[in-house]
Symmetry: C2
Subunit: 503 residues, 2 copies
Amino acid sequence: MNELYIKVNDRDNVAIIVKEGGARAGSTFDGGLVAMEDIPQAHKIALSDIPSGSEVLRYGEVIGHAREDITKGSWVNERNVKIREAVPVESLTSSFDHEWTAPEVGPRTFMGYRNADGTFGTRNILAITTTVQCVEGVVNVAVDRIRRELLPKYPNVDDVAALNHAYGCGVAISARNAEIPIRTILNMSKNPNFGGELLTVSLGCEKLTPQKLFTEIDDRNLVVLQDCKGFQEIMDEIMDKAEEKLERLNRRQREECPVSGLVVGLQCGGSDAFSGVTANPAIGYAADMLVAAGARVMFSEVSEVRDGVHLLAPRTVSPEVLEKLKREMSWYDDYLAGGEVDRDANPTPGNKQGGLANIIEKSLGSVVKSGTSPIVDVLSPGERIRKSGLTFAATPASDFVCGTQQFSSGMTIQVFSTGRGTTYNLRVAPVIKVSSNTALKNKWFDLIDINAGDIASGEKTLEEKGREIFEFIIDVAGGRKKTFSDEYGLYNALTVFNPAPIT
Amino acid sequence: MNELYIKVNDRDNVAIIVKEGGARAGSTFDGGLVAMEDIPQAHKIALSDIPSGSEVLRYGEVIGHAREDITKGSWVNERNVKIREAVPVESLTSSFDHEWTAPEVGPRTFMGYRNADGTFGTRNILAITTTVQCVEGVVNVAVDRIRRELLPKYPNVDDVAALNHAYGCGVAISARNAEIPIRTILNMSKNPNFGGELLTVSLGCEKLTPQKLFTEIDDRNLVVLQDCKGFQEIMDEIMDKAEEKLERLNRRQREECPVSGLVVGLQCGGSDAFSGVTANPAIGYAADMLVAAGARVMFSEVSEVRDGVHLLAPRTVSPEVLEKLKREMSWYDDYLAGGEVDRDANPTPGNKQGGLANIIEKSLGSVVKSGTSPIVDVLSPGERIRKSGLTFAATPASDFVCGTQQFSSGMTIQVFSTGRGTTYNLRVAPVIKVSSNTALKNKWFDLIDINAGDIASGEKTLEEKGREIFEFIIDVAGGRKKTFSDEYGLYNALTVFNPAPIT
Ligand SMILES: [Ca+2]
Ligand SMILES: [Ca+2]
Ligand SMILES: [Ca+2]
Ligand SMILES: [Ca+2]
Ligand SMILES: [Ca+2]
């Protein structure tokens, strides 16, 4: 029987091997294709002879050029494909008339928390903002005590979370780019999952003063350690102020909220060559459904989008949005160049073992999770989301940094695709894990929430999987279902993006 | 009665106000000096008229030039003192014949843990090294379980600690400067407080592979999440391997060890103008005692040392050490310049309120904690300490970053001076807090371990305070005394210095 490969676009001269364990030399495929050598699962097979120097095409796009003559049926990988130059940012254009057919979504609701400012939370969490890492030890001890002694009295409050970070002092507070970590910390504290109740702990001599962070801050929302007489008073003051917040947060209750109130972040990590044909396009379909329902959806990861950005530019809705997209790409180009870092530094050994030859192939597979809707806005790192529809929120691709930055932009639930598997999760917003291949789901049966590997085997369509993801988002957002990672309490530290030097 | 001021050097034309609450206009001092205006405590009073443009001298050194005519008796602060240019690195010289009279220290021991490699620990901790932040959630859950379920069975083991960090993936692993975080994580895992027992948790697809980190690593010391079948197997494998380590660590017992086996880190944070005349010189005296006893002592904080480095260069013992010192200063100059950051970005609002006019004054007060002994070696960030005596370990001044970097260099106990107060502490090595002023000790009576403010009031000499600190180091290192912060379990996250971009 012929084995399966996945060819995405008619123009492609490579396809990926579906079979678990890979294709053995001599394996046959439809159309008379024969594997010339062993090719691992998710890796690429040449569909035709590719002469040295000619284009290697996947997703209908050039992912590179052959370094040597590649014979039909042989293994195409990072050794015989030379990466092409990045598309220059200046050349990006759009006619601002991107057509899009929204998928069918009836009027849908989720059981969320309604905030006074018109936003909606998926969780009801007491957050303790910190202005500087120095206070972390005290805040962690306080959070433990609050969780043990106070939370049981306030059953409508889901959790208490310390917003720890490595910023706040030992930095040049007015440096170029310092606005990024400052804005991130500020907007993190305003996430809809915190219900507008702010409690901030400051040391008292740090550079990021509470006044600099918030412009103004009420004394009831602030504990300054250096203003307290000793440790007991510090703890008493935090516990007292926390309890006031808990009383107010406890009045919140889950109620029926429109799906348009969701702010959904999309991310991928530990990607393989299946990511771009199973999990990511299925997430893209769910994203289109969310956009159709009026929700706010953001995708990110500049260094992964960079090589697919020519596919995104035409989807921007206005010259202003295109301009912002170009500005964020250039900013990151400069940032990486400042560290003498090549853009192809992004793919990991895991990506390459997973069949991704280079950053272009990774990018093309990554951007498909944005679906097909118009790009209505672009955010600089840590800016709050402003519009319904699809937003590009510029962040690093690093999973925990992207997660933190999306959270600061207002994300209340994240959907995360992975081919290799990761246990990444956040305490402050649920993260749904979608596997790109069935082997991963079989191995991590109790860590992966949704398997999109059944798309590769033809058991499910992209649309079916997209609808499954959409329904799961609604259930997890509404507290009706729990992700595996939330079940076990696996939480990564928030990691604020600070591109400026420390002192 | 005349009020007190502190003049450090005969050449000085400014002195600092001792009185709590500061000096009122009209207050009189010895020698007929009268305060012309209210001057806060720890701030500077002009001892003579200082004409516009002329030198302002403290510690016998130029801390800046008068911006305007400053009348005798008036308040000298960052508004009327202009910072002078940094001493060029190229101009640093030494005759390599620094003379030093070691203080009297008899043969002394501390109750430490003796390691197979000849090092000595002050704690007996099971450490779990992580190759990437992705695994943090899993490792934290495992550490909680180990602490609850296993530690009680191994009474000689003090604690279990996750070596979490934000590095390992989402970075350019071969970028310029990437060796700094990689070396830091590697050497952190080898700290003497961990007894040579390594347990590493890896995700499996990260850039910082266990093999890259350790060159080679035994399967008994490693758990790779992606190699496990599901969460339960992950947890079982970590718990099993941890228990093997605990069995071995439990055989360690405190025994009498020579003080020469101590590796003591020195740091300051939240400094005020007293820091340089009370806590830091007293710590300097203790440092001299430690060096006299053959211990390894390190001081750090490049951006604070930078403006006092001309006082350090003559203390280097060889052209090689001088060259390394210059190289580390230049590296940091370039690093800050790359971010367009001014060197005077270091002082905080707290420092300035505390009377420190600029980075030069802060530096001069900071370097005195290195005591007076020869500088035998200079380390790049994260390098392991190599020699007995005083080493300059180049690190950022940021308290938690400096602490992490010193820890990775082998520090097993840290002495920390503060004028404003901080709750900073590490789980992996004790941090002794020394206040520079009595007001702080009165306020934070249950957080400050030693008060050096009584030096300013003349109740204690620097030597007496230095000996008190030395004895306290021995007691805390040996587990006989506990710092307040350890008593309460206040622990800051380790924060690895990563000067390279993230992707
Ligand atoms: Ca990604
Ligand atoms: Ca990612
Ligand atoms: Ca196993
Ligand atoms: Ca300092
Ligand atoms: Ca410091």
